[in-house]
Every structure is written in structure tokens, then in C-alpha cells.
């Protein structure tokens, strides 16, 4: 599935909720099904800076696609990184790099997008894209 199609799917899912509680409960659920980073990678090198909670992200390359795993010590943050990984994992580096992130607004998480927000959603997106950039450079070299 293309990144854009996955993003649309996520937006559709979130559009079913009438209130914030359902939205956050769903995010918490998504956090629980997050592809977990293996413990050996839960190190400071894999920490994303700028978050009030800890977020670790790891990337691997499988069959030309970037596979992300992550974890956080906060449940809502797990949900947020879970949503991002669902959209960007198992994709080609070039596709990740060119992907838009507008869908975040559409699922009512816009308030988390401000760069000064303590959860560091912006830092998370940047980190995923940095991994993609590194793998893209590897492919081209």
C-alpha cells in the first residue's frame, strides 16, 4: 500500500469518532499494537530529542524498504509514533522522503504539531525522514 493510501485510511478511521475521548482511546489502542523496538536498541542513540516522554526509534532496510520499530514510556506518545510508523514503515526511502504529513492535521492531532509541543511530533517525523535519507544515500552510493 502506498503511503498516501495508508494516510487516507488513518484519516477515515479517525473521522468516525465524535469526541476527543474516542480519538485518544483509539490512539492508546494503536500504541499498544506498535511494532516494538528490540531492547538492544533502546539506547540513547535511538532517543528522539525534544520529547517530554522518551521515544526510541530504530530503522532497518528489508528488500529495499525501510522498516521502523519504536517504543515510548508514555502511552499517548506510543500511539502518535505508532500512527507515523504505520504510515511510513515498509516503504521505499524515496517515498518516505517525498511523503506529506498533512494527515496529522486531519486526524485532529494538529495541536501536537507545533515545534515547541512537549511531545516532539515534529522531531519524530524529522527522525523518520532522516533514517530514510540515510538509506536513500546508501542506495545511491
Amino acid at each position: 500500500m502506498q503511503i498516501e493510501a495508508i494516510q487516507e485510511e488513518i484519516v477515515d478511521e479517525f473521522s468516525m469518532f465524535d469526541d476527543w475521548m474516542q480519538r485518544y482511546e483509539y490512539m492508546i489502542e494503536l500504541g499498544k499494537s506498535l511494532p516494538k523496538i528490540s531492547d538492544e536498541f533502546k539506547t540513547d542513540d535511538h532517543l528522539i530529542k525534544g520529547c517530554q516522554s522518551k521515544v526510541w526509534v530504530h530503522a532497518d532496510m528489508e528488500d529495499g524498504k525501510v522498516v521502523f520499530t519504536a517504543d515510548s514510556d508514555a502511552i499517548i506518545t506510543k500511539g502518535i509514533i505508532g500512527i507515523l510508523i504505520r504510515a511510513f514503515s515498509n516503504q521505499k526511502p524515496a517515498d518516505i522522503l517525498s511523503a506529506k504529513t498533512d494527515f496529522i492535521d486531519e486526524i485532529g492531532l494538529k495541536e501536537h504539531l507545533s515545534p515547541t509541543r512537549a511531545n516532539g511530533l515534529v522531531s519524530m517525523i524529522k527522525q523518520l525522514k532522516l533514517y530514510a535519507l540515510a538509506y536513500q544515500a546508501k542506495i545511491e552510493s
Binding site: 476527543w20 475521548m21 485518544y24 482511546e25 492508546i28 517530554q52 516522554s53 522518551k54 514510556d73 508514555a74 502511552i75 499517548i76 506518545t77 512537549a118 511531545n119
Partner: protein, 407 residues
């Protein structure tokens, strides 16, 4: 009507308390970070810019004179509020951090390798980092007054190791992260016995306690206006005349000089020696207005009412399963730092925000305290005199709902 305070009437003074957040009436419980501003203070700010905005101390024209008079009147208000002997001992600053840095910078030339500086284990970063920098510059050593698990300072090791090498002692009057009121009288007395100077960070105390600085015999005391219903970006540093005369100026510039030539500059007298450049004139005037506002209500009544809020909130929150409060000392102000077992404070704060309840989450710029408890941070609800018992109920309901969603 509440027997101690007509809170319903007081709330009408604060336009912001009438707004909604995420479709719900705002419950503002982040007062330890910044307090809200009453209309009386907002009016003073508007009046300044509408009627007599001018630079102070130098103009011969009427506007400048009016602005100067209002600004200097605010200094006197601060002096009287804190029972300070001389108005020149009130240095207008941009806030508590500015005041601390002024003293830390000034002490650079007085310290030598081997000298000691003590700070308490429950300091705000703004009262740790400047001293670490001072130690780096001078070779002095930073020592720490430890704390116990109830969130109180343990003074014995400090008493035992105080010596003539101790030059400076720093402690907050009230911990921003825990709400503990520290025994500063004893700390000041012990430090003075070995000839050390004491700086007390009064940022968190000023909203709750009217400190009598002459009675405390403290050498320096710093406060921020925005914690006491005033604007941000303005505060005051109190210093004893003898210290302020000894300390070199912090910044060079206009206002702080007596005479300038390219060969030599002589500095202005107190307090102007420490007030280089055009100050936050409007902020300073509004700072005075904020103190007038609080004094019209009465600091004793405010403190008594806040104690009631604290006791009620503490007992109601403790009824929640798995909730732990950090800072259980008997002597504390209306700050409750807590966590739900196994739940990250950030998650609780995020959900409370969705319910229109503003609390602080994180390490509250006091990482050493979080390291001591081995936690990533806490949820901190801090109450002011305009908060109500029903707002406490909304907090408690909110925390219960968050606990349910997150577990």
C-alpha cells in the same frame, strides 16, 4: 460566599478565567508556572501605553516625569511589601533568573579555588546552573544540601560541613516542584555564623508568603512579577546595601553610569548601578499594581484560603488508587506534584488538557529532584486564591478519567 474570601467576586477580576479550552470551562492549575492577571493590572498596562509611555529618569518633559514617578512608586511598593529598609536595595530585573545571574556574576571576583558554594537538592535549574558556571570560572566547589523522601531538606550534613570556606548559600524559599516551604531562617542563621552570604529564591514564595526581608536578615532575595499576578519579564532582586555596593555592575550601558569618558567611567549609585539600559517600565509599574491588588485582598487571607484548597485537593486526590504525591512535608504551599502508578505524567497532562484542565507535566526544571525519586517527571497542580473547591473536584474527576483511559 466563602468565609475567608469572596472567590466568586475575585474571579470576576480575571477575564481569562471565563474562557473555554477544548469546549470546556478552563480550570487553570498551573499557577506555579505563571499566575493570571487581574483586570486592575491589565488596566494599568493599557493606561501606561495610552497615556504616559515615555523613557524614564532622563526626560525633562511631563510624560517622562510621570512615567518615572510611576516606576519609582512601584519600587517603593515592592520595598514596603517585603519590608526592605531602603528603596535603593530593590533592583528591578527581568525576573528571578536575572537576579540570580546578577549575584552569581558579581561574586566571580570574590571567590577562589577551594571556596564552597552550597545549594539545596531541590533547586530550580535557574538556581543550579549559574552557580555551576560560577564554580567553573572560579574553581570553587558546589556542595548540595540533601533532601529526604518526604521532600524536605536534611540540614544536618550542611551544618556539620559549613566552614569558613563556605562563601555562598542558595536555597529556594519554596520548592517549585514539591511545594515544600524550606527552613530558610535556620539556613540563613547557620550560613551567617561562618560569614557566608545567602541568596533566597523567592519566586514560588511570593504568591503565598509576604516575606519580611529585614527580619529574615537575608543577603539577597529574588522574585518574579508574573508569579504574583503581574506581567512576565519583570522582577526584583533585593540585596543588602553593603553587598550591592561591593558587587561590580552586571551589565554596562546607559542609566548605570555617573560619568563616562573614554578614559574612565564612574558608576551610578544604587540601584541604578545594576539597571543598565531602558528597563521594562510598563512591567515595573504593573508589578507594583499587582502587589497593590494582592494586598487589597490580604496575603494572610490568601494563604489561609490556599491552605484549605491544598488540604481538600490532597485528601481527594489520595483517594484515587495508585496515586502518589511527591512532597509530603507538613510545611508546604498549594502545589501538588503527583503520579499515577505505572502511568507517564505526560499522558495524564495531555488528557487533562482535553478536559480543559491546565496542569504542568515534566521535570519542572528540577531534574535533580526527579532523579532523586527516580521518576521521569510528575503532574503538578498548583492552586491560586482564585481557584475554587469545585475546580478541585474537576481535577479529581479528570485524573480518575485519565487513569481509567490509560490503564
Amino acid at each position: 460566599m466563602h468565609p475567608m474570601l469572596n472567590v466568586a467576586e475575585i474571579r470576576k477580576d480575571f477575564p481569562i478565567l471565563g474562557r473555554q479550552v477544548h469546549g470546556q470551562p478552563l480550570v487553570y492549575l498551573d499557577n506555579a508556572a505563571t499566575s493570571q492577571t487581574p483586570q486592575q493590572v491589565i488596566d494599568v498596562i493599557v493606561d501606561y501605553y495610552s497615556r504616559y509611555n515615555a523613557n524614564i529618569h532622563r526626560g525633562v518633559h511631563s510624560l517622562s516625569q510621570e512615567a518615572t514617578d510611576a516606576y519609582e512608586k512601584a519600587r517603593i511598593t515592592i520595598q514596603k511589601h517585603f519590608n526592605i529598609q531602603h528603596s535603593h536595595e530593590v533592583i528591578m530585573t527581568s525576573g528571578t533568573t536575572h537576579g540570580i545571574n546578577m549575584v552569581a556574576s558579581g561574586f566571580t571576583s570574590f571567590l577562589n579555588p577551594g571556596d564552597e558554594i552550597w545549594v539545596s537538592a531541590m533547586e530550580h535549574h535557574s538556581n543550579i546552573v549559574p552557580w555551576q558556571m560560577l564554580c567553573e570560572r572560579t574553581g570553587a566547589e558546589l556542595r548540595v544540601i540533601p533532601m529526604n523522601t518526604t521532600g524536605e531538606l536534611v540540614l544536618q550534613p550542611f551544618y556539620e560541613e559549613l566552614s569558613e570556606r563556605t562563601q555562598l548559600v542558595f536555597c529556594n524559599h519554596i520548592s517549585n516542584a514539591l511545594g515544600t516551604i524550606n527552613p530558610i531562617e535556620e539556613i540563613i542563621e547557620a550560613a551567617h555564623e561562618v560569614g557566608a552570604a545567602v541568596l533566597i529564591d523567592g519566586a514560588q514564595a511570593a504568591p503565598h508568603i509576604k516575606a519580611d526581608l529585614q527580619a529574615l536578615d537575608v543577603d539577597f532575595y529574588t522574585i518574579s512579577a508574573h508569579k504574583i499576578c503581574g506581567p512576565t519579564g519583570v522582577g526584583a532582586l533585593y540585596g543588602k546595601t553593603e553587598w550591592l555596593e561591593k558587587l561590580p555592575p552586571y551589565q554596562g550601558g546607559g542609566e548605570m553610569i555617573a560619568e563616562v569618558s573614554f578614559e574612565k567611567t564612574t558608576y551610578a549609585g544604587l540601584p541604578h548601578k545594576f539597571e543598565a539600559g531602558t528597563p521594562n517600565i510598563c512591567g515595573g509599574i504593573a508589578f507594583g499594581a499587582a502587589l497593590d491588588y494582592l494586598n487589597a485582598i490580604g496575603m494572610d487571607r490568601i494563604a489561609a484560603y490556599e491552605t484549605e484548597l491544598l488540604q481538600y485537593a490532597t485528601s481527594e486526590l489520595l483517594k484515587i488508587n495508585g496515586l502518589r504525591i511527591y512532597g509530603e512535608g507538613t510545611n508546604k504551599t498549594s502545589v501538588i506534584s503527583f503520579n499515577l502508578e505505572g502511568i507517564h505524567p505526560y499522558d495524564v497532562g495531555t488528557l487533562l488538557d482535553q478536559m480543559g484542565i491546565a496542569v504542568r507535566t515534566g521535570h519542572h526544571c528540577a531534574q535533580p529532584i526527579m532523579d532523586f525519586y527516580q521518576i521521569p517527571g510528575t503532574v503538578r497542580a498548583s492552586f491560586a486564591f482564585y481557584n475554587t473547591l469545585s475546580e478541585v473536584d474537576r481535577l479529581v474527576e479528570g485524573v480518575k478519567k485519565a487513569a481509567q483511559m490509560l490503564s
